[in-house]
């Protein structure tokens, strides 16, 4: 009897749960109504999708900073999510259905899904960081960070005592391409300089990144550039332990407490993000692939003021000259197409 009673209670409970779920859904729909109302009022909603956590202090964090700039400068309503592989289309669709006007996908893998969904959601613009496919409401922009890396390579080659430079970073196309820029810069400054690459699969393993850096220094490299996102600290730490120098990347990392950072090759992402967002907001976005380089102020090579005294004047001058040449189009820094 008790058993029966229990099962009845159970069935009622289950029914209640389902009901709660349904009403929950309805409430949620109501809960969303203010934002849809805002959308109708012309509120501007922007979403960012990243392949990794935006707390990586590197690639993803840079895009997140751009998104935050869109919020502060254009008053947009922003949100962000992590998605890779099979989830990409679902996330994009979710945002588009929620009336987001601009959806950034921060990586090559967002290009094809974006272009595909652009057909279904003509009122939403899909932008990916790198990628070649476009539509009227879908496109990509690509930061020409290779330019900054080229200058770092020049400075490194000129200052290396062992004539041995090294690059430590993730094995993804955008990063491998920046390494090409670095190598080109180094060879331009000194054809005999040796450049070693260590590719990583995972920058979460900061300990392994440190070990990789230590080993490359032990093999003779004394100027290290990295693309190790959140594990950058480990690269600098290893340099400090072994008395090597380092270059920062993506963000201005000159202020790092290790005191080994000579200069940083940086992406100033905010203007580019804000610019695209403004175009979308004003309905002027046309689609296409945009290269954003030094000429637009999006890429820079910043020498660490605290280290400026250690850099010979002729090196400074040569790097400055190369910078002008890049701006003037006299030097075209090589880059991979991806």
């Amino acid at each position: 009897m008790v058993k029966k009673l229990k099962s009845i209670v159970g069935v009622l409970g289950l029914a209640g749960l389902v009901l709660a779920g349904c009403t929950g859904g309805q409430q949620a729909a109501k809960g969303d109504s203010p934002s849809s109302a805002q959308a109708a009022d012309g509120s501007f909603k922007v979403a960012l999708i990243t392949p990794g956590s935006v707390s990586d202090a590197g690639w993803n964090a840079m895009a997140f900073a751009g998104l935050q700039a869109i919020e502060s400068e254009l008053g947009a309503e922003i949100t962000n999510a992590e998605a890779t592989g099979a989830k990409i289309r679902d996330v994009m669709r979710t945002y588009a259905q929620e009336d987001y006007k601009l959806i950034f996908g921060h990586g090559f893998e967002y290009n094809a899904p974006g272009v595909e969904l652009a057909k279904q959601f003509p009122n939403t613009v899909f932008i990916s960081s790198s990628g070649a496919e476009t539509a009227t409401n879908a496109g990509s922009f690509r930061f020409y960070l290779e330019q900054g890396f080229y200058l770092a390579g020049m400075m490194g080659a000129k200052m290396s005592r062992n004539k041995h430079l090294a690059m430590v970073g993730l094995n993804v196309p955008s990063i491998v391409s920046t390494f090409r820029g670095f190598e080109a810069g180094a060879k331009a400054a000194d054809p005999n300089v040796k450049v070693t690459t260590v590719l990583l699969t995972d920058t979460k393993d900061a300990v392994a990144v440190k070990q990789a850096t230590l080993q490359v220094i032990e093999a003779g490299a004394d100027m290290i550039i990295h693309q190790a996102n959140e594990a950058a600290r480990s690269v600098f730490d290893a340099c400090k332990e072994k008395g090597a120098m380092a270059f920062g990347s993506n963000a201005d990392q000159n202020g790092d407490t290790s005191g080994v950072v000579l200069a940083s090759a940086v992406i100033v992402a905010k203007p580019a993000f804000v610019e695209v967002a403004r175009q979308v907001k004003e309905g002027k976005y046309q689609g296409g692939v945009t290269f954003i380089g030094m000429d637009k102020g999006a890429i820079d090579f910043i020498v660490n003021p605290a280290k400026a005294g250690q850099i010979p004047d002729d090196v400074k001058a040569a790097v400055e000259q190369a910078k002008q040449d890049i701006l003037a189009g006299k030097i075209v820094v090589p880059k991979d197409e991806f």
Partner: protein
């Protein structure tokens, strides 16, 4: 050459301490799949406390303290409630990833920071934890194989009924073994962030806890052999960059998978002759 060896020793220490701690656990009949999560929590707590107080030693202390709730939850479910150890451990890992990442983001903002953590002092490339790890092996070896505590503990992993009939509490022994394992996990995790890494990164354990669990059987449930197994795998990890740095034509992923291939390969070779504790991963019901 010597420098490379010292480097391997330093970088292997977190793995070795965790694996030796797990040896005690497995000898008592428990497999701690949640080791990965425990190490991660310890790495986070140690880093935060070390940053706040400037003292890496306090960081280690805090990491050990942070193990208490994990230890309680895990062993309440496995020892008292007799739930499956593999599942509880898996769940614990999920919790640890969620907890550390959420706390990290709440503290350092969504875009994160490059954390500089006060590190343990080093002498000639090694720190106190390395010495501790090296010392730990003979001590735990003695404890497991030459003391009454160890005898009873091993019996609990082989045939718990015999422990009970001799007047000991299987549950208590297993709680104690789990405590040793948890303290080792804390030390291993703390060493990752404030010993070798010098920073904290989300999910920075990167599977070391899992590997430690696997290496215990590789080391045939004997602390000295487990240490040797860890050093072998540590050496393989060293090699995975060694060949890249020297620009060999071989695909570098081969070397990334090398530690796991080495571990699996050795297990295949020695596997037939080694014997797992007979009651490993089996819950013991004291009322049966």
């Amino acid at each position: 050459m010597i420098e490379s060896l010292i480097s391997v020793l330093l970088f292997t220490t977190p793995l070795a301490i965790a694996a030796v701690g797990e040896t005690v656990n497995q000898r008592a009949g428990q497999i701690n799949i949640g080791l990965e999560g425990m190490m991660l929590v310890a790495a986070y707590v140690a880093a935060i406390v070390a940053i706040e107080t400037g003292s890496p030693v306090l960081g280690i202390g805090a990491a050990i303290a942070a193990m208490i709730p994990l230890w309680l939850i895990q062993n309440f479910l496995t020892i008292q409630a007799g739930r499956d150890q593999v599942v509880v451990g898996t769940a614990l890992n999920l919790c640890a990833i969620g907890l550390t990442s959420t706390l990290y983001q709440m503290r350092f903002g969504q875009s994160g920071q490059l954390l500089s953590v006060p590190q343990l002092p080093r002498w000639g490339g090694i720190d106190g934890m390395v010495l501790f790890g090296l010392l730990l092996v003979p001590v735990l070896g003695w404890w497991l194989f030459r003391s009454r505590w160890g005898l009873v503990l091993r019996a609990a992993g082989e045939y718990p009924d015999s422990v009970r009939s001799s007047g000991f509490s299987v549950a208590r022994i297993r709680w104690e073994a789990a405590a040793v394992g948890a303290v080792m996990a804390a030390l291993a995790g703390a060493h990752l962030s404030i010993g070798v890494g010098g920073t904290f990164v989300q999910e920075m354990t990167s599977g070391r806890g899992f590997v430690a669990v696997a290496l215990v059987s590789f080391g045939r449930w004997r602390p000295a052999w487990v240490l040797a197994a860890c050093l072998l795998v540590g050496g393989a990890e060293f090699l995975k960059f060694y060949y890249q740095v020297r620009q060999t034509a071989l695909p570098y992923q081969l070397f990334l998978a090398l530690p796991y291939l080495v571990a699996l390969g050795v297990l295949v070779i020695v596997g037939k002759n080694s014997r797992a504790p007979a009651a490993l991963a089996q819950p013991f019901r004291s009322n049966q």
